[in-house]
Structures are given as C-alpha cells and as structure tokens.
C-alpha cells in the first residue's frame, strides 16, 4: 500500500535520527551526549517536553548506563532507543556485547567519528569498524532522509521474532549529523502501520514478575556454543530480512535503498567502485560524469557492514574487470581499508580480478570529486591490464 505524502522539513541528520526514533514510539530513551551526536538526545527531549514522545527519558551518567538501560528495557518487552558516537561507543562496548549476547533488540544511532588515540573531533567510520565483531547489525547510510528511514526500518528488523538483534544505524558524523537538508517526515499513523506486522508475530521472551527467568545466568560449554550458533544464524537471516523490509518500506513510503547494497549503473559496468556513507553520494555524481565520457563504470553502496552482504555482492560483482573500494577507516594489521579486506575474502566467489583499496576521508578530509575521479581512473587502468598499486592513501599520495 502507498501512504500519503509526509511533511517536508529542513532538518539535520541528528534531528532525522530523532524523528525516526520518535515516530516508532519507543518506551525508553537513554542517551548520553557526545560530539557529534548530542543533538539527537536534545531533540528527543524536546519531543518529550512537547508531549509528542511518550517515553521514559532516563538521564544517564554515561554510555555504559545508556546501553545497559536500553538493553534491559527491551528484555522487559519494551522498545528502546539510544544514540552515541566514537568515544561514547567505546565506553559502552562491554554493554554492547551484553546486549548482542542477550539478543536485546535495541536500536542505536551512531554518528561516525574517529576513535580515540588522537583527539580527532571529526568524521571517520573507525568507531563502527571497531564494533565489527560485536554481533550487532551495522547499517551505514548516505543522507539525512536515509537516516530517518533506516531508523524506522531498524526497529522492524531488530524486533523481528526471527532476528532479535540490536541494530546500529551509522551516519557520517559532521558531514551528515550537522547537515541540514530537506527530509520527508512520514505521518505517525503510517509508521504505526508499517511497524504493525511486529504485533502479529509471536511475542518474544521477556522478563515479567509472574514468571521468573534468568538471562545470561548460565552459558558454559555447550550452552554457550549453542547461543553463538543461534546468534550467527540470526545474523545470516538478517540479510534477506533487510532486503524484504527495504522493499516493503518502498511500497509503503515510496523510498527504498536496495536493502543490503544499492547498485547504481552496475548492470553493464566493466569496473565498479564500492563506497559507503555520505561518500556514496559524491561517487554517484562522478559515475554519471564518467559515464557521459563513455566509461562503463558503476557504483555499489554498501548499506550493511555486519552481516556482510556476501551473496548480493558476489551477484553484483561477478564478471567485473576491476573493483576499487573507498574506505573511511583503516584495517590495522592489514594495511588497507576494512571493507576492502572483507571484499578480498570474496575473491574466490567473484573471481580473481584486480581489487584496489583507497583510504580517504579520515578525520574530516573530504572524499572529493577529484579523489573519486582518480579512483575510477586508476581502477580503469588496472582493468586494462596495467600494473597497479594495491593500497593507496589518497590524500597522502599524489
């Protein structure tokens, strides 16, 4: 079914995350301020004060509490939302692992920022990459509208009885968190209807006083392995579920994002650029320019980093002559980008064609049009059989 058009407002990425959460009517909201995410909590508090958000707003003393409180709220059967970034994400890491292990369907907005080390108050996906093995679903989005839509879709995914996993919606800090652009805000009733299928599902296990249950109280030997097995299986199921939810969202609201990956002009492409986050928007423009010049180049926007969209990527990339990956973070110990490293693991499926890693945009450096043009030119040269450099740190290498 198609719903009525939403209200168009010019809002920031942070506000878009807050709007998305508010529309899903969470029972509990707990978030601790950290640049560049602070505005999410402020906006949600404003909604609460205005009476349009009927949630318990918990004022917390740190991110560890915000994660534990929201995870516990979901284990009691509620819907919970939190938001953080970088240092805050690291401060809640143990609680994040607990939430994943307990299969607590928390939805969290994460404004991507560089991680501790150098005090980099700037954009980078390193914080998300650091949570790669946390067992969370890690979604990466490109613009403010996609932030709002993805938060709504994240609740559908997280709370699905077949999934029951915490979901993180990642958007580039600074670039998107503070960028104000026109965003269509769906009507509340329509979001209610989109989330309604969750109510038809069997109820997930929850803590109620009448029926005492332990959570995480056992777990040695075979029981532990069993939980890990079920967790991994749920992440596998999440891949197809993401595609289905995205398609359903499109039928409802007229916007869809391709599910796990978005393919842009890849069908007849000979070379492909793989990018994620706000850089994908710039890349799309450059692809159009290069196409106009006659170069058969396409773009794949990675929308989910965990679970890794193995099958969809294999299908999209099979037969291509060369692939370039733009990473806004590094893979320590491999000296390349993390998404590139993951893609290389698919070489036996895709075929052993030239794959190139481009590290760019760390700490707020722009992944600019000339940078992406250079990526395409170098990948094209590699596809023509010319020798190529595997890893390039774009701003450092002229």
């Amino acid at each position: 079914m198609k719903v009525r058009k939403g209200e168009i407002k010019v809002i920031t990425g942070n506000a878009a995350a807050a709007y998305g959460a508010m529309l899903c009517r969470p029972d509990v909201v707990a978030s601790y301020p950290v640049t560049p995410q602070t505005e999410v909590g402020e906006q949600l508090s404003r909604f609460h004060a205005d009476g349009i958000l009927d949630a318990e707003m918990v004022e917390v003393e740190g991110e560890s509490s915000s994660m534990n409180i929201t995870a516990a709220a979901t284990l009691a059967g509620g819907r919970a939302f939190t938001a953080t970034s970088s240092w805050g994400l690291m401060f809640m890491y143990d609680a994040m692992l607990q939430a994943a292990g307990f299969r607590a369907p928390v939805v969290m907005a994460n404004a991507n920022r560089e991680t501790p080390g150098i005090l980099a108050v700037s954009c980078g996906q390193q914080d998300m990459v650091s949570t790669r093995d946390s067992g969370w679903v890690l979604i990466v989005v490109e613009n403010c509208q996609e932030i709002l839509d993805s938060v709504i879709m994240a609740f559908r995914l997280a709370e699905d009885i077949e999934i029951q996993l915490p979901v993180m919606v990642n958007y580039d800090g600074f670039y998107l968190s503070y960028l104000a652009e026109a965003v269509e805000i769906p009507a509340r009733e329509d979001v209610d209807q989109f989330l309604a299928p969750l109510k038809l599902q069997p109820e997930r296990t929850k803590l109620v006083p009448e029926r005492p249950l332990g959570c995480g109280t056992h777990g040695i030997l075979v029981e532990f392995m069993e939980l890990r097995y079920k967790h991994c299986a749920a992440l596998e199921r999440a891949k197809r579920k993401l595609d289905e939810i995205d398609q359903e969202f499109g039928e409802f609201f007229g916007r869809s994002y391709g599910g796990q990956i978005e393919e842009y002009r890849t069908e007849d492409a000979e070379i492909v650029v793989l990018a994620s986050g706000s850089a994908a928007g710039t890349a799309r423009m450059v692809i159009d320019t290069k196409r106009a010049e006659g170069l058969k180049v396409g773009l794949i926007k990675l929308r989910v980093f965990r679970p890794f969209p193995r099958e969809r990527l294999t299908q999209a990339l099979k037969g291509k002559k060369a692939i370039g990956v733009i990473d806004r973070s590094v893979c320590f110990g491999w000296n390349c980008g993390p998404i590139y490293m993951e893609l290389r693991a698919l070489s036996p499926d895709i075929g052993f064609v030239p794959m190139m890693s481009f590290i760019d945009g760390l700490a707020n450096m722009d992944i600019s049009i000339p940078h992406i043009e250079r990526v395409i030119d170098e990948v094209y040269a590699a596809s023509q059989g010319k020798s190529y450099q595997e890893v390039t740190w774009i701003p450092l290498e002229e």
């Binding site: 296990t205 332990g214 109280t217 069993e226």
Partner: protein
Amino acid sequence: MVIRKKFSSKYEAGWSDADELLLCLDTGSWRTKRPVVDKEKCNYCGLCALYCPPQCMLNLEDYFAPNLDFCKGCGICAKECSRGAIAMVPEGEFADEGAKR
C-alpha cells in the same frame, strides 16, 4: 543454515527457566574447602547467612548449614562467625563419601 542438532535450550537468546538451567549450575564442584558447622557452638545469630555471597546458608531452625550444591567454599561464613562455630575442612577429608559433594 540447517540446524543439525537438537538444542538444549528452547530459547533463542540466553534465557533460562528458574527450575532448569538457572539453578543447576554446579558451583559446589568448585569447592576445595567445606564449611562445617558445630551445632553446639552455633547460637543461631544468622551472621553467616547474611554474609554468604551466593546466599546458600540454609536456615535449619536452630542452626545454619551450607547448601553444598552451591557453596563454593569461599570461607567468608567461617571468618565472620563470632563464635568460631564454622570450620573450613579440606574436601579431601570427605573423599570416602564417594560423591564430589
């Protein structure tokens, strides 16, 4: 993914029922020393039960004694007992009882 085995837990996440996995964790087997209560010295004050971290001192109406299924043998009860009524006896001395408890 094909599920090849039957799982021991019916839950998707780490839940456990109060009468099943939750209480069957065999912490008693971790014990190297066992608290033994001298009923004559015990004046039923209950300090041991208050201090016991897993709360496994059982109230036996005129004295207290540990539930050996859960007692890890930490010895806090013996340390806190002001009448010295609890002795920590090495588990080896109970070897002839056959069972590990």
